[in-house]
Structure formats: structure tokens, C-alpha cells
Symmetry: C2
Subunit: 308 residues, 2 copies
């Protein structure tokens, strides 16, 4: 038999995953889970694909800011366009530092800029922009296109779960409509399986079936306690398997437990500076919870035979 | 070969449906639609099941109002509990009349009552209440349980579509979490296929995986122009087949058209006082649009061999 997780190194983590899938899918096993309850949820940035030196969607947004500032000089004195136009990447780092220090003034400025950057275009036009970027743009340091920044072991895990009757969903803080054009191609996850942050949308009728247009307002940010809510909203179920990597995934991982059936919670640890990146910033609480709650920590360095 | 639509009378409407499914599912046909694009959306009240003399969910809500007023005397002087407690069904009729006349004062009163009636309970507790009601309560005049008020021809159509690779969704003004407990059993539509109105939800952590609780606020009403938006939000696609029965379905039916592939739009006409009900109130504009836009009108009297 071929190894369904050939990109994973032999060891306790690989055994835990294979064992979990086998026990939940063996009818008659005490741990059997009916197929319709095999719901698996995955964070995207840092869990399914690379999020350093910046989330892929942030690169997409910054390029749009630059484009807007080039077209309209009046934006060059206003944040966040000013920082993008001047290639002042330190500005975004400072915004995050301020955020962690409790000051969200600039976070709101950036958020308003993001919403404005793609407002008043149809979801189809946005999708074309996202798809073009994702297919054409390259990672700044890894010497590969962005779509090749998906982690091969996670893509293999998704396929193994799918082959065993699991329904895979992406529950990401990233934009739902940003990921949808590539979710099938990269992850084998159909468009309806993508849960993520969203802007407000509106329907405008016309003679050809009308259009759905992005509004100048956020709908919701799918992070932290919003993840269980949107997983429920979309699937109507509590998952049995979840994978994340950061503090924003804690509630999703917590939600993934049942009184009457086993669950598997995976936390990806970025500890491989040579092949990917080495960081715990933004994941400290999640790592503490993994240790105290028995979540399975996946070390990129020790558990993955290849990364991409 | 067995007739996949045996509960439909022979005629133009049955031929249109069978022809549409055959042409879209025949590879090589000019009208072929790839399986992943075969998205079909259905209104529920008045399209998949009976909505007279009142929507089934309204009966559920009124019983809850009565229960609340019995438990708390102070509610008996306040609308909407007063009307429910006094079995003043005329109150609701007047509210609807006022609504159509442009006065939504009482609509807001009723809406606030509905939100309050099931607030601060978990989605699991709400689901238990909805499931019990739907399995136990009986239709006031049709001499059958509510779950037997689903239209047999529509259930057969859903099965025929499913057998041909269509993904069926319920896009209803009714509550998503009210329909989910019975959607598989009654319609063969899994929980994740139910789109509908929703209240705001919140996640509260605890040591056993936390809980999702209904809040004292609406999230959105899935009616009119909100239907295309939530169909997109959930499926990421523009449907190829839609069925509705009222003015609230116009935008959904309009949205269901493509430049490059055929679509089928069905409008159920309630014209059978003997076997079901005979009414056009609330559907006048939709019937006009059916005539001018070439939607297929399904006459219960003439097109259905049996109703239930």
C-alpha cells in the first residue's frame, strides 16, 4: 500500500494522524464517526500556506495601495497609501506593535484602507484580480510562486481526509473571496468549503441576472471566537478535526471536541528557519494551550519530510 | 425506466424540467453544465412545504410566546405576547396589512419579540426545541403532521437533481437553524445546504469545547435582495436552477441566469383550494415577472399528480 502521508516523517505525530483517521473511519470501532460528522477545519495563513514575511493577502493589498497612490496623488499623504507608496513596511510593523499595546487607532486606518481598496467592484471582478495575483506573484524570499507556498504535507493530509470521507473547510482570518478562486486547485477544497473574513455585499439587479458588489464596510473578521461561530453558521456542525498555528485559532481548536467521540487538534509550529521560517510570535498562548490541553504540535522541522 | 418525476402530471412543465436536467447533464451537449456548477436553490415556505394558514415557523414562535406569557404574567399586557396569549391571530394579520401600507411599527415589535423568544440559549437547545416541534406538531387543517406538509413533487425533484449531480440548497426567509434539524430527513439536503435567516450568535468558551449561543439581535433576514447575497456567501456560485413562489424570491430567480449556459426558474402557483390552498397574495409581482421573463410557472392544480 502507498503511504498516504509520504511527505510526513515517521514518528508520533504521523502515527497520531493516521491512527485517528483509521479509528474514526472503521465502522464498528468504538471511536467510529459517521461520515456526515467528519468535518475538518483548517486555518490557512501559517497552517496551509506560508504567512511570512507577510501574509500573502497583505502583499496583494499593498500592491493595490501602491496602484491607487500612483493613480491619485492626493492619496500619497494619507495612510495607509502613504506607507505603501513610500515602501515604508515599518509602518505596518508599528501598527501591529501598537495593536498589541492596546492602541487600535492605526489598525482602524489600515482596515478602512483595505475596505476602500476593493469597494464598489463586483465579486467577479475581485475574483479576477485575486486569481491573477495568486497565479502570477512570487514569494519575496522562497524563490517560488505564491501558489507553491502551500505546505505539501498539509495538502497531502487534506487529500487523505477527503479520501476517508471527511469534509474539509478552510476557516481563515484571510478573505473568503480571496481564497476561493484557488482553493480547489491548491487544496482540493471546493469554493463552498471556504470560510473566511468577508466584506459586506449587496445585490444590484439588471437585465442580465444582476451583480453582487463589494461594499465599503467589513461584514466580519473570521478570527478568534468568530471562527467557531462561522464554522457553525456554514456547516451546522461542531468539527472533529482542526488545525491551526496561532492565537487566533485557539477558540476553533477548543470548539473541536465532543463528549462522545474522539477529536484531533493540530498546531503547526514554525521552527525551521532553513526550509521555511522560525517564529512563535502571535502563537505563544496557543502553544501553551497545546501543552496543557493535549493538542498535537506539528513541528515543521521534525515532522515534515518536505515543506513545499 | 422508472419515472423520476412520478408525482408530476405529464405536460409542458414536467417536460421542461426533465429536458433541462437531461441537456445540462449530457456531456458533449451544447448546454452541458459541469457538475460543480450545478447549483440549485429553493425557497422553503410555499415552495418546498406549505405556508398556509401561517408559516410553520410562525406557529412554533406563537407557541413559545404563549409559553412565555403563561410563565410571566407581566408579558400578557405587552405585544406580541398579548396577542399570542389571547389567541388574537387578527393582530398578526393587521401587522402584515400595516407593513404593506408602509407602517412597520408593529413589525418591529413582533421582530423584537421573536428575537427575544429564543435568546440566550445554545444553538443545540434551540435545535432540540425546533426538532421536537417539527416532529410532533400537526398542521391545523390539513390533517397531517408538519413534516408531512412537504410537497411530494418537490421532494422528488430534489432527489432527481441530486441523482444528476446537482447540489441543492434551501434559500429561505425562514430560520436557518429552524430548518437544519429536519432538512436531511425531509428533503435529503444536508445541514450545510441550508441557507436562511439567522440571529446573531456568540461563542463562549468552557472546559468542554464551549457553546454557541443565540443573541438578542438578528443577523440578517434572508429575503428579497439578501437571497442572492447569501447564496453567493455560502456557495460562491451563481445558481443554474431556482424555485420560489413569492415576491421575496424575485431577486433569487433573477440572479439565476448565465450568459453562457441555460438556467431553469420555477415559480410555484398556489391554485388548488381542494388539495392545498388557493392564493396569490404576496406573489403578484413574481407572477408578473414569470410571464415577462419566461420563468416556468408550476400550477399545483394542473402539474402535480399528488401534493403531499
Amino acid at each position: 500500500m502507498t503511504d498516504p502521508l509520504s511527505t510526513w516523517k515517521e514518528g508520533a505525530v504521523k502515527d497520531a494522524i493516521l491512527g485517528y483517521v483509521e479509528q474514526t473511519c472503521t465502522e464498528g470501532s468504538a471511536s467510529w464517526v459517521p461520515a456526515e460528522e467528519r468535518v475538518a477545519v483548517f486555518d490557512n495563513d501559517g497552517t496551509l500556506w506560508c504567512e511570512k514575511p507577510m501574509p500573502i493577502q497583505l502583499d496583494f493589498i499593498l500592491r493595490r495601495f501602491i496602484e491607487m497612490a500612483e493613480a491619485d496623488a492626493s492619496l500619497r499623504d494619507r495612510q495607509p497609501w502613504k506607507a505603501a507608496h513610500e515602501r515604508d513596511y515599518g509602518f505596518l510593523a508599528r501598527v501591529m506593535d501598537e495593536h498589541y499595546a492596546g492602541d487600535d487607532t492605526n489598525v482602524k486606518t489600515v482596515g478602512a484602507g483595505i475596505v476602500a481598496a476593493f469597494a464598489n467592484i463586483t465579486v467577479d471582478a475581485f475574483e479576477d484580480q485575486a486569481a491573477s495575483f495568486l497565479h502570477d506573484a512570487r514569494h519575496p524570499t522562497l524563490e517560488r510562486g505564491y501558489l507553491e507556498c502551500a505546505y505539501a504535507p498539509m495538502v497531502e493530509l487534506l487529500a487523505h481526509l477527503r479520501a476517508n470521507g471527511f469534509a474539509n473547510y478552510i476557516a481563515s482570518g484571510g478573505g473568503r473571496d480571496f481564497m476561493r478562486p484557488i482553493s480547489q486547485e491548491v487544496y482540493g477544497i471546493p469554493r463552498e468549503g471556504v470560510i473566511g473574513s468577508a466584506v459586506a455585499l449587496a445585490y444590484t439587479p439588471d437585465e442580465h441576472g444582476g451583480a453582487i458588489t463589494r461594499q465599503m464596510a467589513a461584514d466580519y473578521l473570521d478570527d478568534g471566537p468568530a471562527k467557531p461561530v462561522h464554522i457553525w453558521t456554514r456547516t451546522g456542525r461542531r468539527p472533529v478535526l482542526a488545525a491551526g498555528n496561532s492565537n487566533g485559532d485557539i477558540e476553533m481548536l477548543d470548539f473541536t471536541q465532543h463528549q462522545d467521540k474522539p477529536s484531533l487538534r493540530l498546531l503547526v509550529l514554525h521552527d525551521d528557519a532553513e526550509r521555511e521560517f522560525d517564529y512563535v510570535s502571535g502563537s505563544e498562548r496557543a502553544l501553551d494551550r497545546a501543552a496543557s490541553s493535549g493538542w498535537t504540535v506539528v513541528s515543521i522541522k521534525n515532522d515534515w519530510a518536505k515543506v513545499f
